[in-house]
Structures are given as C-alpha cells and as structure tokens.
Symmetry: C2
Subunit: 365 residues, 2 copies
DNA sequence: CGATGTCATGACACCGATGTCATAATTAAT
DNA sequence: ATTAATTATGACATCGGTGTCATGACATCG
C-alpha cells in the first residue's frame, strides 16, 4: 500500500507538504497541490488511519456490543432480532459525525463481553454502546475509565447512562386510545412474568383505566406467554378460553407483543371468532413484518428502536466530547400508537354514539 | 492511556522486554515477567492496535457493508431484516479467528458505498464483505486492489466471489417433499416478477414436478406479491380466488415467502377455509418469528442466512491468507425443508394409502 | 530602503509498538 | 577448562503520518 512518502517522491515534494494537501491545515501553492493530487490519484493513495491515530490519539471508532446477556439465556436460537433497528439508529447518527462503528456479537455468551471490550480498547475506541435484545437489567464488567459507555435497551445498578423504551407510557397510550374508541372491557394477555416490560406495560394499562374511571378487573388479565416457549401455545389457548368465557367478556384483547397477537389471530380464527367484528385485537412493538402483514393489520404500540439507538448515540457523543448536557438517567423513549384495522370503534357502554371513525385499515376487494 | 514505556518504567525493564511478555515471542525471566505483569495490571495497560499495526501492517479488521442497494429502492422503511443473520454468521467465523468486524450501513443509498469503502481502506481493513438484503445483482465501485471482496446474498457481472442461496434447490426440495406426502395439485403464489428468487424458485418447482412426472399446469401459478406493496392485498386475494375456483383446485398452496404465507392464512380464514384440513400451505425462508408462531406452524424451506454468512467469511479469510482453495463462483448454499403442521399428508390421487405420517406439529390441547 | 509579515516549503522529532542486532550471563558440550 | 549454545535483556531503527520549528521568497508598510 502506498504511503505518504511515495506520494511525496512522485510529486517531488516533502511528505509534510502532502500532509498539508490532505488536511488543508496550511496554504499550499497551486502548482504543488496539483502535482500532489495527481500523484495521489496515480498511486491510489489512502492515508493510514493507524498512523494518523498515533499522533492524534483520536481513533474515530465506536465499539458496539450486542447479544443476549439474559439471565434466562435460552440457547443459541436467533429470533426476529428487531434490535437491529437500534443498531441502525446508532449507525445513522455515528456515520453523520464521521465515526466508524465496530460491532461485536457476544453470540449469547456473556462471558465473551470482557474479551470484546478489550478488543475495542486495543483499537482505542472512543466510546462503547451495549445493546440488549430486550428491555432488561444487565451486569457488565467495569468499563475502562476514560471510555464512556452507554446502555441501550437495558440498564444496570451502577447508574451507567441508559436508554430505555417507555413501556409504561406506550401501553398507557394504546389503552387510552382503545377507551377513546369506546372500549371499556379490555382484556390483557401479558408477557412472561418477571420481565421489566411485563410489569411496566401492565402499569400503563392500569393507569389508562384509572384515568378513565374504569375499575381494574383482574379477571381480564392473564399471562399469555411463559418463559418456557414450548408451553406458550397451551398457555395462550387457556388464557383466551378463560377470558372469553367470562360473563362479561372483553371487546378487545391487548397482547403483550405482536408475536403473541399473531398467535391470538390463529387461535381466535380456529374457534370461528372474527376480527375485528367479534373482538378487537391489539399488540405491542409494531414489529412491522407482523403488524402490517397480518390480516386485518394490527393496531399496536410502537417500540421505538431506531429512536432509542439515535438517543444512545447522541448521548455517547456528548459524553465523548465532554459536553455536559444534563441527561436524565435512564432516558425513556416513547413511540406512537399505530392504529390499524384490527380494532374497531364500538358504541360505548353508556349508549352514546361514536364521535369519530377510528378504523382506517384497507380491506381487500 | 498508558503506554508500553510507562509499563517498562514501573517494572524497571526496557519496553522491548514488556513487548516480549505481551507476545511471548522470546524467553523472559520469571521474576522479570512477574514485575511486568504487575505493572500492566497496575496501569490497566492495553496495547495500542494502531501502533502494532504500524509495524505489522496487519490490522485484524474486516469491513462489512450492508444495506439496500436495490435497483428498486423502496424508500427508507426498515423491514424484518433477517439479513442480520448473515451478519451473525460472518461475525461468528471472524471472532473465532480473532478478526474484528467493522460494519457500516448504507442507509439505503448506494451513493454512500464508495465513502464507506474508503473509510475501511483508511483503517486498512484486510478484506471486505458486502451483504445485500435479498438475492440480487449489484454493481459496486471497484474495490481497492489488494483488498479482497466477497459478496453475500448478491452477485455482480465481474466475477467477484459471491455466496448465494440455492433458491432453485430449496424450492425443489420443498415441492418434492409435498409430492412425497401425496400432493400432486400444487399451487404456487410467486414473489414479484423480475426478482432472481422468483425465477429460481419457480424453476425448482417445475423441476420437482417434472421429476415426479406431474405435468406443469400454468393455471396453478400466479403472482402473489408485486413490487408495489400497496397492491399486495388485492393481488393476493385475487390470485387465491382464481386458483381455488379452478375445476380441479390444488391441495396445497406454496407461497413465495413466509410473509406471503402469513397473509394467505388471513385470507383463507376470512373465507372460512381451514388449514390444513381444507388446504395445506407452505412458505419459503423459514422466517422463524412467522413460521413458528403462525397457527398452525408453517412448513417452509429454509433460507440459510447464517450458513451463507459463514461461507462468505470463510471464503474471505482464505482469500486474505492467499490460500488457493478453488471455489466455485457463485457458491450456492442450500437449506433444509422445515416440515411443520401447515401441510398434511393426503391420499395420493392413485388411491394408495399414505406410507408414513408427516405431520409432527403440536396442536394446543 | 529596511523592517516586518505572510506564504510556501522542508527538516526533524515524535506517537507506541515491534524487528534486528548486540551483549552479558548462564548452561551445556567437548 | 574452554568452546559453543542458550537465555535474558537492552539499544536502536522503523512503520506512516503530523506537530514544531526553521528557512527562503515575496509582498507590504512606514
């Protein structure tokens, strides 16, 4: 690979002059510049970042670690991986500021994290981001001092800067919207117990009910997914069965996420229950491949992955540049409710007519 | 950040001796080693990859470019992005050999590719991989000589090393399996015209029929998806309508991919058609979130993304190390058929009984 | 016209590792 | 015991850029 000395020799100048042409940090004569530029093109010269870094000690690199450091590591099966959207959000911010992203995947084994961090430190990464695959608490090995770290989609007990989805608010907004559409008996099939998202979303559900003056009915809430995936079909079937056979069944079923909603579609249809005519269904995540493709398209709260990534990246950059933006920790990012035709507006219980049309989904034909 | 000189000073030895402790490339006295190791720990010293690279000219970096350089760039909407699995396949091979992956995303604009390549060259990446989001032809700017390039999930006209899914074979194997299960009237709802996958999979479908002595019936084949996504619902509805009202309708519908199969589920159920009792459905991709979650679980041909990534990484490494493994270009990677309960075995047309049970899906209850 | 300032350029040291070579201290071999 | 081989260590140059300082050629100004 050509060096700055090769260029200098061909252009008949000193290496320092070539450097000046490259960086524009001092005036260079017109003819000299042309000669240098010609030589650069001729050799296909590209400056070495490593050599540059030796002097400047700025690497322009950001290290990104992803992977499932879950307490319940469920093997090596890759899933839908929407957390890539977080990575994309980070990437778009970073590339706009000229930083280069190095990524490493733990492959599900948290034991590899220290090794990955070390690699990044060897490359003198200026900052690190850890991305979790779902909202969770993590314990990371101590980051090297001087290298800022931001957590995305996870948090720890040490007060490390952390960007999280606002699950409580997202679910609240969705349920509030359902209530606005005339629903008051709202079933909720939750994610597995113990997950942060489960608790927070249930809180949001309750708050929306409370704000509307609707009493919380525990009969309407049931666990839809368990940690043991093999049992999910049976658990969900049973939960739906129980909720639908209540004396006063719900008019809409909120699902813990879109994947669950997809299963609910299958189960309801198997029983001859039509959506949204007989019952409405809502999800969570706005996992677009599911939400937009299901028939009817699914109303769902958006998990703002890309925005979370961008927030985390912004935060990291401000830490690197030592800007003292006082940032609330954790930073909660909320997303919109995506209203699609899996939910219909119904006449409210008090007999009032519906004030506005809410369904905007397209039906075939 | 501490340097090797700091360590040397504290340990009371020369920098070179510290280097020897780090690399173990020459014997070091027991007591000296201990003193050096103590100093390293004390300072939290991590060697600088940049400085190392200056001498060795080996960066240990691999550049990975992803993004939709599609001729039909359909805007900025991120989808399910299963191509991350390719990245994971690459990552797992690379980390096993101690290489570090730098990734950059074009964000959908092919104009950014040269800029990204330049960044990688500045970092003296030892090899580049370009990953496309679906099987397609691409035109990349000429790679810098001396830096090998491998294409994953795409190919070009220049004979650049390329790893592709074996769509023809995958579809063939799936259809052959359906025939084995007693099906002989096999409908096929294709992906949009013009895509490589569409043509190849249709070829595989035809070959499987031919091998079984079943005449190809064009009436059973219809375009299920178009490039214009807004029309997909209508197109698919119509195609199903037409195929099912044939005098001799199919017993199974093959869908261009799993996403289409998910829509087909919805459409069939809306019409009161049960799966798999009334008709079987098969997909393509083994997009697990869909295939495993749909009810009933979907029989589908696997698009072996992770294997493709691993293959591409292996190939790149052999190019970097100048090993002359003669590699067929393009390298086709095939995946298994995932047999689930969306397809039932039926009595073959000739009245023979079914020779073995094929459904192994779990039903709730 | 001499003093001062700006422009254009080069010599040289330095960043932090490692390769090469030299050297001193042991140990093994003859 | 003397030579040869091995061990343990350091001095120094080098990789490819850039920061610092010096220098010569002009231009400007009082």
């Amino acid at each position: 690979m050509a060096t700055i000395y090769d260029v200098a020799k061909i252009a008949g100048v000193s290496p320092k002059t070539v450097s000046r042409v490259l960086n524009g940090d001092a005036p260079v004569g017109e003819k000299t510049r042309e000669a240098v530029e010609k030589a650069i093109l001729e050799l296909g010269y590209v400056p070495s970042n490593a050599a540059r870094m030796m002097r400047s000690s700025r690497s322009g690199l950001i290290g990104l670690i992803t992977g499932a450091i879950s307490t319940t590591s469920d093997g090596n099966e890759p899933k839908g991986l929407p957390d890539l959207l977080i990575v994309q959000g980070i990437q778009s911010v970073m590339s706009a500021t000229g930083m280069t992203l190095m990524i490493a995947d733990t492959g599900g084994s948290s034991a590899r994290v220290p090794e990955l961090i070390r690699t990044f430190v060897e490359h003198r990464a200026e900052g690190l981001i850890y991305v979790a695959d779902y909202h969770q608490r993590v314990e990371l090995p101590p980051a090297p001092k001087g290298t800022p770290l931001v957590l995305a989609n996870c948090y720890d007990d040490l007060g490390t800067p952390s960007v999280l989805p606002d699950d409580e608010r997202g679910q609240h907004n969705l349920v509030a919207r359902l209530i606005q559409a005339g629903h008051s008996r709202i079933g909720y099939l939750t994610l597995p117990k113990g997950m942060d998202a489960t608790r927070l979303r249930l809180d949001g559900y309750k708050r929306a009910l409370a704000e509307a003056g609707i009493a919380f009915d525990p009969e309407l809430v049931s666990t839809g997914f368990m940690h043991d995936k093999l049992r999910n079909s049976a658990v969900l079937w049973d939960a739906i069965d129980r909720i639908l056979s209540l004396p006063n069944p719900p008019t809409v079923l909120c699902c813990g996420n879109d994947e669950m909603a997809m299963r609910v579609y299958g189960i309801l249809r198997t029983r001859g229950i039509r959506m949204p005519e007989d019952i409405s269904v809502a999800g969570y995540d706005n996992y677009r491949v599911i939400a937009e493709t299901l028939f009817p398209p699914l109303t769902t709260a958006e998990l703002p992955y890309a925005a979370m990534g961008a927030r985390a990246a912004d935060w990291l950059l401000s830490l690197i540049n030592d800007e003292n933006h006082e940032q609330i920790n954790p930073t909660l990012v909320s997303g919109p409710v995506n209203w699609r035709s899996s939910v219909t507006a119904i006449a409210p219980a008090d007999g009032n007519t519906i004030r506005f049309p809410l369904s905007n989904g397209r039906n075939p034909q």
